[in-house]
Symmetry: D3
Subunit: 136 residues, 6 copies
């Protein structure tokens, strides 16, 4: 029987949504206020969900301290109190929508987890807008 463990984390960041190959008018039409040239920002809340078998010796699917440290190194350190467009190389040429951010986080964590574990990441951009990526 497989069990999923979930860990919450968070980071605060600025961003701006726009497509550099479009005109200003089209960017304003599609991205509205999110296209503010001076940036705006969010408290991003993150739920990382890891599914696997329970280790009979520890009773853990994954040690929550290990998972917490992994999220800290792979997500919080590079993203927290940053400008996603300017400070995070992954978004130099990729629009930092919630969808693209959650895929980037999923890829970073997937690369560090055992293949015996499944991974799903949910990212809240606001309490009303959030996204989920399970890699399928």
């Amino acid at each position: 029987m497989r069990v999923t463990v979930h860990r919450k984390a968070h980071f605060n960041a600025a961003h701006r949504l726009y497509n550099p190959s479009w005109t200003n008018e089209k960017n304003d039409e599609i991205f509205g206020l999110c296209n503010n040239i001076n940036y705006h920002g969010h408290n991003y809340e993150l739920i990382v969900s890891v599914t696997g078998s329970i280790d009979p010796e520890t009773g853990y699917v994954i040690d929550m301290k290990v998972l917490k440290d992994l999220i800290h190194t792979e997500v919080e350190l590079p993203f927290d109190h940053k400008n996603l467009n300017l400070d995070v190389p992954a978004f130099k040429e990729v629009n930092p929508t919630a969808e693209n951010i959650v895929v980037e986080i999923w890829n970073r964590l997937r690369a560090k987890l055992s293949l015996s574990l499944d991974l799903e990441v949910t990212l809240y951009e606001t309490p009303r807008n959030f996204v989920t990526c399970s890699g399928s």
Copy 2:
């Protein structure tokens, strides 16, 4: 890779649970206080989840403003500050349980979304009781 975007919405409504083909006694036995002939009500909170591929031009699965407006037109306008039994035709002959309401909302939204998108709807009747419909 497919990503799910979630949008929260809400409406406040009155309702009453009963089956008109049953006796009053059976309605009271099954529906208890929910069968109050004068109605009671809830703050319904809604999470609409749409799954699809990320559009490489926008970075969106679906424009959240489009989804927000769709929920407003299809759910909030017809349901908010209404008596579900009396004011919403779908519940003239269908008992407005959370289960039946979430199916009605799912059907309304499903009809307006591209077939390339999957849809799941979660409806909170109270913070302790909620239901989910994914159409499968």
Copy 3:
């Protein structure tokens, strides 16, 4: 030194806002959708806050079970799954706005508590609209 103890409770009810001495037009203008003749409803969440000295024998300001039972008898039983306008005598001639409901709840609880205790009541009509009455 005085300490405040807070207890959460909740009830679900229908209501309608209107002033019977006004025209329909004025009621619609002031109360909008809240004036739906067929009622709408809410999940009312309640925080009852009682301030007093700590009893050195129990370590309690007030036994939380006593407070919970008092809220059940004075608020939940008469208000839960009710139509506030039709089923609660206090609102036969008083408009059941959040303000008037919280005053009614404050008065009911105040009458049952020792005068050595201060009382404040907060009532959430929705997660975004709430009111507080401390009797001063």
Copy 4:
């Protein structure tokens, strides 16, 4: 079409994490503060999710009162205000990690539900750490 109904519940309990076949040093290394010999505790919050078809007579997948009573009998009564290691036989020889607790709860509820219903249980050990078991 199948619908999932979710019901929240909660219990407060003490526990200690350790493996009796390990040395104290290894227990401290793996379980850290959770290995406090005098126990610590949590407010466990539970979401029980039951999936099935809607009964056309009631509009229910399962009567929420029946589900609430089942959770009370099978989970809240045996677990609430208990020391999981000392008071709950299931954890005499099983480490009461969140993963092992959610499997125990899933097994208890699964045994009492019709086979036409699917079951998933989510258990919050803290607001930041939680686990899910769907029996697959």
Copy 5:
């Protein structure tokens, strides 16, 4: 008897904390990551609390729609999806800490409310850090 009505609102903004009369080293020492030259951001959640007497004709202390519109005009329009340092004149020479933002919001709303009403504003910079200003 006076009653307080509370209304929640929110805006998303970027900001940077620094004192232009200090060296970079001192700014880094005091403001740490918050001094990122490229800005970071938050989902600011706001609770506006207005205290007054209940109007016996409406049952309202203040019409929630009026309060909602006031918050929209005075706070959400000028602050939402903005860079507080660059786009909001009030913070050209004032450090946009949560404390200074809540005072600015309090002053804006105070100027528009009847003197018979008391005002308190609570501003969440994150779910873990928040500030309150009641003007006293």
Copy 6:
């Protein structure tokens, strides 16, 4: 003008409520399940609220990092993952009710804060039961 800054923190602990000068019967009657001889536990959530003037150089009432570290040293380190009755000297002879715990926390923090600052502490024992101490 004075502003209040609030910081959330948390600790998980076991406790048992009883009065050693009473009979077992009286302890069971007054404290019920909370008198379980093997202890139970809670996720205690804490809000520490500090009121003072805004420092014009920093824009802070108190540096949130300083407040966070103070709470860590004075509350989280001595209380987290502890048995309050056995591991915390303050509760060797004082019943660890929420009321007595919040007074102990208030006293610990009050001793470390400048007298120009006011202090209030709110302690959630569960999401439904919480207490506040402002030292007056």
